[in-house]
């Protein structure tokens, strides 16, 4: 097939010079358009170009708003076009979330059943669920009651409502973390840098108490104190729990929480790429085959010499 395809491609690209009087028909469509239409086209083109340029500059201005320090691109193991998430890291990230972050941050869109076949087995997910108490609907007497959690229950939120959350964190609301990597520029890079980026404020910056300095946080003053320190928790799989390791794992866990379809999406990308490249080449062969008649047509025009 390659031979045939090569022959067609070679011939297509090669302008066959023939010494007959070949009338060259200009295929460009612009020639027939009236002047008015051409002017209209120019106007429309410039409008679209202008709009695109405006959108680009706006987007850039949002990014480079002066002194913000953008998180660098870390070589995550899931960065490749076909690379899946590291599920061992997701599991460790869950442990970090459960023992550290869940004190202030909720993940109310995640249920225990989501963990099954991602970072935990069904038994482990059931255990995790059973370890919490959930208020359930009215019983016969019409009273709400507490029961241990089930797979269908969602992660518990530390505060009953936003006001309680703000009140407990002197006005700052700890954001829900389920979709945080999708909600912040830089995603997991930003989270990792934020969690490991705490430094003392530079000269001239004084923060009111209750605010801490973090160069990666827009504006520099963040309501969250540094949360991750060396050996803050003990990983169940024995990994040394350094601050960077915990930050990396919890960032991976939150990346999974925001994009649970991540692995399937990349597997589908692999399939689609292979399949469509095959289909494109077949379509190209088919087009060339169907057009070969017209493309090799030669018209000879011999005017009757008087």
């Amino acid at each position: 097939m390659a031979g045939v395809a090569g022959k067609f491609v070679k011939s297509g690209l090669l302008r066959v010079q023939s010494n007959g009087i070949i009338q060259q028909s200009h295929l460009s469509t612009l020639r027939e358009l009236s002047v008015g239409k051409k002017a209209g086209l120019v106007v429309v083109g410039s409008l679209i170009g202008g709009a695109a340029g405006l959108a680009y500059t706006l987007d850039q201005s949002v990014k480079a708003s002066g002194l913000d320090l953008h998180a660098p691109h870390f070589p995550w193991s899931h960065n490749g076009m076909f690379s899946s998430l590291d599920h061992a890291s997701i599991r460790r990230g869950y442990e970090v979330y459960k023992q550290v972050c869940s004190a202030c941050h909720s993940m109310k869109y995640l249920a225990y059943r989501n963990l099954i076949d991602v970072s935990h087995t069904e038994e482990e997910a059931k255990e995790e669920a059973a370890s919490i108490q959930v208020t359930d609907g009215p019983n016969e007497e019409g009273l709400m009651f507490q029961r241990p959690g089930k797979l269908s229950d969602r992660f518990p939120s530390p505060y009953p409502n936003e006001e309680a959350a703000r009140n407990a964190n002197n006005g700052a609301l700890p954001p829900d973390l389920t979709y945080i990597t999708a909600a912040r520029h830089g995603g997991e890079d930003y989270l990792f840098s934020l969690l490991t980026g705490y430094t003392d404020p530079p000269g001239g910056i004084t923060l009111r108490d209750g605010l801490y300095y973090n160069p990666y946080f827009p504006g520099g003053a963040i309501g969250m104190a540094q949360a991750l320190y060396n050996e803050l928790i003990e990983y169940s799989d024995g990994t040394p729990a350094t601050a960077s390791q915990m930050a990396k794992d919890v960032a991976t866990f939150l990346k999974w929480a925001a994009e649970p379809e991540h692995d399937d999406r990349k597997k589908m990308a692999l399939k689609a790429l292979m399949l469509f490249s095959f289909l494109i080449s077949v379509s190209y062969y088919w087009k060339r085959h169907k057009w070969s008649v017209l493309k090799t047509r030669k018209i000879v025009y011999k005017p009757k010499s008087e």
Binding site: D68, P202, P215, N230, P240, S244
Partner: protein, 74 residues
């Protein structure tokens, strides 16, 4: 990391950041950053802040740190 009970667990990032801040271009930025800090500290009423110098310095360290750090983490 073998005897982490005995020795205090060292975060690889600390060591790498230290090494990165001694590279030529980052050291220069660090120098400017410290100079700015001293200048601002010495003055009593100034509105100058050293955020820009710090940003440049940290930007330099980050781009030196980012490629190497994950090799030292699991």
């Amino acid at each position: 990391m073998s005897d982490q009970e005995a020795a205090e667990l060292v975060d690889p990032a600390v060591a790498i950041k230290e090494k990165c801040s001694q590279t030529k271009e980052c050291a220069a930025l660090l120098e400017k950053f410290n100079a700015c800090n001293d200048r601002v500290a010495s003055k009593s009423a100034t509105t100058e802040t050293c955020v820009e110098e710090q940003t440049d310095f940290l930007h330099c360290v980050d781009h030196c740190l980012a490629p190497q750090l994950f090799k030292h983490l699991k």
